[in-house]
Symmetry: D2
């Protein structure tokens, strides 16, 4: 017997950064903390993250600009992890918010009837759902994306009477226990004490560090084999574009196959549009391009348009199996967010906004093509107003961190994504001024060129 | 063999309402929906709850008053389930908020350094922690109470390396999967697909519908028996006052025994102060009266003071075992909430506020004594600015619903609690005007007298 | 803040020995291994246990006697943890077995129809079930006790459609994953990777190291509170006499209350009679004395009467919800065991056997009374043909180990039980010759007197 | 929105028969029960299976022959699901057993030292392990295959400190809770209340109803992606030949890749040889052909050689991390089985046995080739002394049932396997007389030809 295996000592599990919206750049973390941060050091948990990557105390923000206490100004190509698609403190939204506060509009209302909520429901239907032919019932599950995912999983389980869920490697859905159970990141799962207690089956995504994969084929194989060990699940949960996973869009064909595979078996399809939605990666929803209609959709981040906590779980009306009060939450009616969200929804009927959005997307795509052209080893992915510049084969996470730091030093905030933080995730406001966009792209070009 | 047992047909499980902040009153739900609510009926999920109990469209709010679209005015003895301890749209907080919005203060900041966050950390330390001799590290886990509980459970598990938790019957901690697992409500658990996957051991609380119980004795017995089937847990999670459970305060002696029992065994004690805290049931924290110091404390609801989503997980500095970014969340830095929370913290150094708070508590206690005196079968419980009027032995849920409806018809919003909604939970703003308070109490007195 | 708590370092969990049938006596384990054991040392896992306590190589056995390779002879007051209630190689059973083997009777038959199985079913009905007015359907779930428990839990869950189970601290039900989940021993659970994945609620037994406990009161309180955190379970599983738990009989009143509490709520009552049954602790079943009729009963150990692997899961005919083949097992038809079990069942209609059994019980009770009388700090428990001598308050595990070693040195095999192996568990064959019994008792008396 | 999906009504899950050793043939179940079976109908659970497929009361057995009460004689091509590889009541084994019983050899010995156990350990080492260069430590985990699997999973988890396991679709490992969790059959899992509580990841096997699959590629992809959602597991468990799954041998190359993939990552490889081992599918172990050395091996079924309950968990000596008594079991020392197993081990040094085994394999292979040749749509698989005739593409389960019934009517017992019982699993004794083998094959040929 010749085996040299000595597995008693557990192999170190491969680790990857977790994040809800980009992550730490190791190369930056040795920067000295800026002035005025002793309070944080003394009183805030070590868990804080972005202040390590971007060591600056921010005071004010407008559009694509962030203004620091020390006078520095930054262009924001990160946008609160997708929460600021309309820019910081958008004037139209600000005016609505200020007026509402001044008038002593109800600020906190649980799920009572309020004028603010009614106006949001009306605006969202008028400007977003109806033009797209979508008929969804809205649940306000609490103000965060993870609340929306928790509610989506609950409603799927209750409506189908099943408990299993299929999720994808590389997917990110949130940090509360139910959402973590469908999130791929080993680091996040371990930190959250999630180790397989829930009946979740992970399948590789269409695209990942291991290359292309026939996800739908595997799902069908598992579900059509009565001895596969995997039961017919309540739902499949998918991000049409995996943002934290490294800016990886699913193809329209793959989404259609997934929709067909789930529909045929009576499995609910949940599209998590928390980061991909609100216009970031296509039209309002990322799934629109493929023509599919999910059973359940989660929306948050830029929903309020002002960075205020708000989320929605949308589902087909037939799936509204809730009894009153079965899912509650103190902040499920964030009225100030309703006010700005109403104004934000209106932008979707505004031609100026659409032109701006298109122009932003065009400029990003152009820059992406340029990068791909000049450095073929760099893999460029993107859709709409997000660009992923994958340096895995060309410098990896170290180079990405270097680019990020160079950008910061030159007044540009940009985040990283991917398993090893090897992907630059470029997310300017959809409404960014073309000149500001060009400047920011210029910084990135220089940062990348510095090496080339 | 004479057994008449026929258990194959599952016995109907006893059911109880769930809520995060009061619940539906069945007696009210047959009220016709008010004008202007067709939009809700068409587009919002059936899960909505409070709008059924209080069928009125609200527009404006100030102090203890809610102003409806149709001109009606209500006095608020519910306060957003404890989120509005300082009243609606408190002027001092409003001024700070309006100024911040006007100045384009950063609205969304993830966990970057911001001036707003620094000011909150400073104010909270100065006005809340230091005067109480408390030394806690603050984590901003996301903007809701359930986020704070999820983070508390994670940090407890990570710090101890254990996974079990002891929780109490009647306890309520939130609706996301991790919090639900430590929440007693069978209805909420079933709706959430929670059925014992997590290693949570439930123990009857000191007080409940079954009467007094030696909870600490049972915990010690289970933990000291190596064959009890219950392992030493990471933590015990407790509400010093069970609010949803029917306004049931733990005695100081019980809390001290629990603290001692956990401390002796290296088990973390988590006090969930989400509804009991921020001055509602005693000093800032409900646990202060007993003299114990929990290892972990969760705070939310009235933390922002303005009803804006915000929460904190506080823990002893030695427990700050997080790696950067292990728990994240898009809205973990709700800057507008920081601004109002800073102002709210300042109230704790304001003598006027303290006098008002004391006067509110005194008036409630007086009314409670009056009720107990006039109708001995009614069990009156309370602490600080909350009064629980338990009608279990005197009319039950039906009577409570009747009182609630009478109150609503007479311009008073009051919520129910308890397993069968048999407890009136009276929670006016701490800062309510004495005359408004007296009026509201007058309505309740009449509603109760109507029967007597 | 003055807390001195430093819980980050996990407290060492209290540990207790596990066993299926008695356990190691630490005091004996330093004995040198006897001659002829090198093969074991080289090739058998360290998990082996009893050979450490009783370091002797056995060759032959008859009645109450064990004959070692080296010529030593031992009297057996352990009886294979209750598997040899009729003594070793009982002549009547042996004759039947030898004849069957000689005739090439089917030795392995899965669950095909065989003559041997039919004869057992007939004999068990005639001699055991019918005289007791019991009407049970028999499932042969596999040849071991833990198989019987696994099948009992499955049938309870399937019949009720619920998944929870209530089990008792101190209970022992087996080492496979499902049985471990309802077994109290922390050591066994940890070794088996069981840490609360299954919805099992543990309740202290009527009697335990912590003293008397109102188990049924706690169960009723948990089940009658819709917010207790504990759902109505499929079943309660109980040993009418906790044998491994330290020879702790449940009182008849307690069992009746438990039966009533479960029956009223449509919960199945599973009596695990694997060690307590087959005549060891009363009549055939330990539960008979109380007059209750369980819904499900597990039987094994002495069922075959010859120490051959065999077990039964009995349930009320209405609970036979199985589809063919839903629970299988290669050795669920151990035909040789059927043959000896048929002969063993016949003993229950044999007056000589009953007299012998009664005489054994009488002698044990007399000795127990003598011990209790002479040393009041020793707690003596027992029922039928088992005697538990609890030295917890009088020397503890160390004294018990000393007694066990003294006994071994003087030719007597006796096992220990209880959390800390502090209880002598005296279990001679029911059919032991009175003189042999007296001799064995004499050794025990001397061992105990050695100290007195 | 045009989706026609109506998933609220749960789709019927595809079902498949479960079995531990073949299964019901629906076509046979309408046969009238034979005479003498009223006792079974009255007293035995509906869960019984094989007596439905083979409705005959068996009395006696010898070699490949089964003798019924009514005078019929059957040839056994099923062999107790692989428990009777040496035939029924093999004379050499019988003689040893009869002598041991006659001499009052210890029949039940827990894990004490006995002469019978020592002789088995010696014989197994001499005749099985040493000639193959294998150095394994033996644990006697209880007498059944599922006990061996439970112990294997425990030791893997304890040795690695991890909890996850990777298992394969189509795999069968046993009916107790831990083994069920790694078994693919949906029907068995549902009946056992297993629904994903344990961290088990299922991967399609190399071969299955869905065709070939790159199992090792998927495993590597999942394990090498830190965000895959699948943690590095304690172990991979695999049957080198999936017997219940439809007689599907893994290729040597696949096994070697799996061994390499696990070894490189410190993951233990458990080979479940319960049905494939003891000479059925190659040499003693099925894995030998590939040259790999598993870390853990489970053996049972034909281990005793006489159909007596006995099993072994073998592991590399470094993995013997058990503390004494951490896994116990009343029948872990089935001494009569040790006696016959000792004799059976000796056969592996007997040339006559090896010639017979080779001849049996040759005849089966020849018949398989003939079938494949005459009916190309029939897929024939096999290895050693098992032949799988897969009728999936040529008549399916209905034809298989027809063949099985024809065979039974003509005196041949043969079982079915596969998801839909569409595979004839031909398993005569290794030692069958060539003429008997030819006769049985003749019956099968006729049954298949009847259609052709």
């Amino acid at each position: 017997m010749t085996t040299a295996l000595t597995p008693v000592a557990p192999a170190a599990a491969p680790t990857a950064p977790i994040r809800s919206a980009g992550t730490t750049a190791p190369g930056l973390s040795d920067l000295p903390p800026p002035a005025g941060t002793a309070v944080f050091d003394r009183g805030e948990s070590r868990v804080r993250l972005y202040c390590r990557t971007f060591p600056v105390v921010l005071r004010r923000a407008k559009g694509a600009r962030l203004f620091a206490e020390d006078g520095r100004v930054f262009t924001d190509f990160f946008c609160g992890a997708g929460s600021l698609n309309y820019g910081h403190n958008n004037d139209g939204l600000k005016a609505a918010l200020a007026a509402y506060v001044a008038a002593d509009g109800v600020a906190h209302g649980l799920d009572m009837y309020t004028v603010a909520k009614r106006e949001f429901l009306t605006a969202f239907r008028t400007h977003v759902l109806e033009p797209r032919g979508l008929e969804y019932t809205a649940q306000f599950p609490g103000p965060t994306g993870t609340d929306a995912v928790e509610a989506a999983l609950k409603v799927a389980r209750k409506a189908t009477g099943r408990s299993g869920v299929i999720a994808f490697s590389g997917g990110f859905h949130g940090m509360s226990r139910g959402s973590l159970a469908v999130t791929g990141s080993g680091r996040a799962r371990r930190a959250g004490g999630v180790h397989g207690q829930d009946p979740v089956t992970f399948v590789p995504f269409e695209d990942g560090p291991g290359g292309a994969f026939d996800s739908v084929g595997l799902i069908e194989r598992l579900l059509d084999d009565p001895s596969s060990g995997v039961e017919t699940p309540a739902a499949v949960i998918v991000e049409p574009v995996q943002m934290e996973g490294g800016v990886r869009p699913a193809s329209a064909g793959w989404l259609r196959r997934l929709r067909e595979a789930t529909e045929r078996r009576g499995i609910l399809l949940i599209c998590d549009e928390i980061q991909s939605g609100c216009g970031r990666t296509g039209d309002f929803f990322a799934f629109e391009e493929s023509g599919i209609v999910p059973d359940v959709v989660t929306v948050s981040k830029s929903l309020s348009g002002y960075g205020l906590p708000m989320s929605l779980t949308l589902f087909r009306p037939e799936l509204d199996v809730w009894e009153p009060g079965e899912h509650t939450g103190t902040f499920r009616g964030n009225q100030l967010a309703f006010v700005t969200a109403t104004a934000a929804a209106g932008l979707w009927s505004d031609e100026v906004f659409h032109r701006s959005r298109a122009e932003t997307a065009r400029a990003l795509a152009e820059f992406g093509a340029e990068v791909a052209d000049r450095e073929p080893a760099v893999r460029v992915r993107g859709r709409g107003a997000v660009l992923g510049i994958d340096l895995a084969a060309s410098g990896g996470g170290a180079r990405a961190a270097h680019v990020q730091r160079y950008a910061f030093d030159h007044g540009l905030i940009v985040e990283l994504a991917g398993r090893e933080d090897e992907v630059l995730k470029v997310m300017p406001p959809l409404t960014i001024d073309p000149a500001e966009l060009a400047d920011g792209i210029g910084v990135l070009r220089a940062a990348l060129l510095n090496r080339i």
